[in-house]
Symmetry: C2
Subunit: 205 residues, 2 copies
C-alpha cells in the first residue's frame, strides 16, 4: 500500500481504534469485533472494516479481531512501535500540564526538552527537565534530532516558534495556541481546540 | 430533519467547517466553495457538500457559499447562537490554562464557575472567578442550570466528578482526564487526548 492512497480521514481514525483496543485490553479482553468497536466509538462497523482493509486483513469472518495482534499492527502502521522524542515549547500553565501528563508513556511519545522565553522560568525544573531558553530551541532540536513538537505558547508567539521548529527539522506539530500556523508542505500540524468538541455536543442539547 | 437521522461523524465535522469559515471571514473573505474548504481541511469537496446537504441547501451551483450566511446557519444548527454557561472542575495547571483560554469567547461558551478540592486553592481567584469547593459542585451546577462542564482533574477523581455533574443536570462533558468516563444514555462525553493527534501525524513521518 502507498501512503498517498490512504485518505487522511481514515488515518485519523486509526488512533481512535487503537485507544479503544487499549481500553479493551486493559479490561482483560482478547477478542473484539468491528460491531463492538463501532458501538463504543459511534462509528459504523462497516466503516471500521473498510478503514482497516486499507492496511491488510486483520480479522476473520465470524471470529472477530485478536486485540493484541490488531494493536501491534496499528502501532506499526502509525509508527509508534518506537518512542518519539518530543519538544515542548511554552512552560506556562498548559506547558506544566503537558509536562506532567501521564498519557504519553506507553503510547509512543516522551517529552525530552522544554523551552520558554521567560527569564524567571528558564533554568527551573519541570517534570525532571530543565526549562531551556527559546533562544536555544533551534540548536537543541537540531542536535537531538527531534521531529515532533508541542506548541503551548500564547498565540502571539506561536508562528515564530513554529518557524524555528520547522527550520530545525520538526515535521509534526501539535498546536495548542488558538491560531492557524503556516508551515511548508511536508510538515503536519494538528490543533487542540476544546471548542470544536464542545460544539459537537451542543448540537444534541 | 430529525437529529437521529444525522450520523454523529457528520455532526463532528460541522465545528471544523465553522472554524474554517471563521478563519476565512477573519481574512475578509465573503464567498467560498466546498472545493476551497476541502483543500484547507483535507476533506473531499463531495464529502462537505454531502454533509451540509443533511441540513439544507446552503450554496448555489457555480457561486459557492456565502460565508456569513453559512456561519450563521452552522451556529444555529450547533445551537451556539446562544452562550452556554460552563463549569470547570479542577483548578490545577490545566484548569488555569482553560480558565485563561481566549478561544471560548465568541464561539458559544463561557466558564461561569470553577471548582477544586484543594483547600489551598478554594477561595482563591482564577480569571475573575472564585474557586469553589468541590463539595458545592452539585448544588451550584443545579442552581445555575449549568449543562456543560470541563473536567480537568486527575484521572483518579474524574469519574466521581462526572457522577455529580450528571446528577446535577449536566448533559455535555469535555474530559481532559486520561480515563474513559461512564455516563448514562443521553449524556455526551468528548475527550481531549493529545496522543491521538500525535499518532495521526507519526503515520506520515
Amino acid at each position: 500500500m502507498s501512503i498517498t492512497t490512504i485518505p487522511d480521514i481514515v488515518v485519523g481514525r486509526l488512533p481512535i481504534y487503537l485507544r479503544a483496543l487499549n481500553f479493551l485490553a486493559a479490561e482483560g479482553r482478547e477478542i473484539t469485533s468491528s460491531q463492538e468497536l463501532g458501538d463504543r466509538l459511534g462509528i459504523s462497523s462497516a466503516q471500521i472494516r473498510k478503514d482497516l482493509s486499507h492496511f491488510g486483513e486483520f480479522g476473520k469472518q465470524g471470529t472477530g479481531y485478536d486485540i493484541a495482534f490488531l494493536r501491534e499492527q496499528l502501532q506499526r502502521i502509525l509508527q509508534i512501535d518506537q518512542i518519539w522524542d518530543v519538544a515542548l515549547v511554552g512552560a506556562g500553565d498548559l506547558g506544566h500540564a503537558l509536562a506532567h501528563y501521564g498519557g504519553f508513556a506507553g503510547r509512543g511519545f516522551r517529552i525530552v526538552a522544554v523551552f520558554d522565553n521567560d527569564p524567571a522560568k528558564i533554568g527551573q525544573n519541570l517534570a525532571n527537565l530543565v526549562i531551556q531558553d527559546n533562544q536555544s530551541l533551534g540548536s537543541v532540536v537540531l542536535a537531538q534530532g527531534i521531529r515532533v513538537a508541542l506548541i503551548a505558547t500564547p498565540a502571539s508567539g506561536a508562528q515564530s516558534v513554529a518557524d524555528i521548529l520547522v527550520n530545525s527539522g520538526v515535521k509534526a506539530i501539535l498546536n495548542y495556541a488558538p491560531i492557524t500556523l503556516t508551515v511548508p508542505h511536508g510538515v503536519r500540524v494538528q490543533y487542540i481546540d476544546p471548542v470544536v468538541h464542545l460544539q459537537r455536543m451542543t448540537f444534541y442539547l
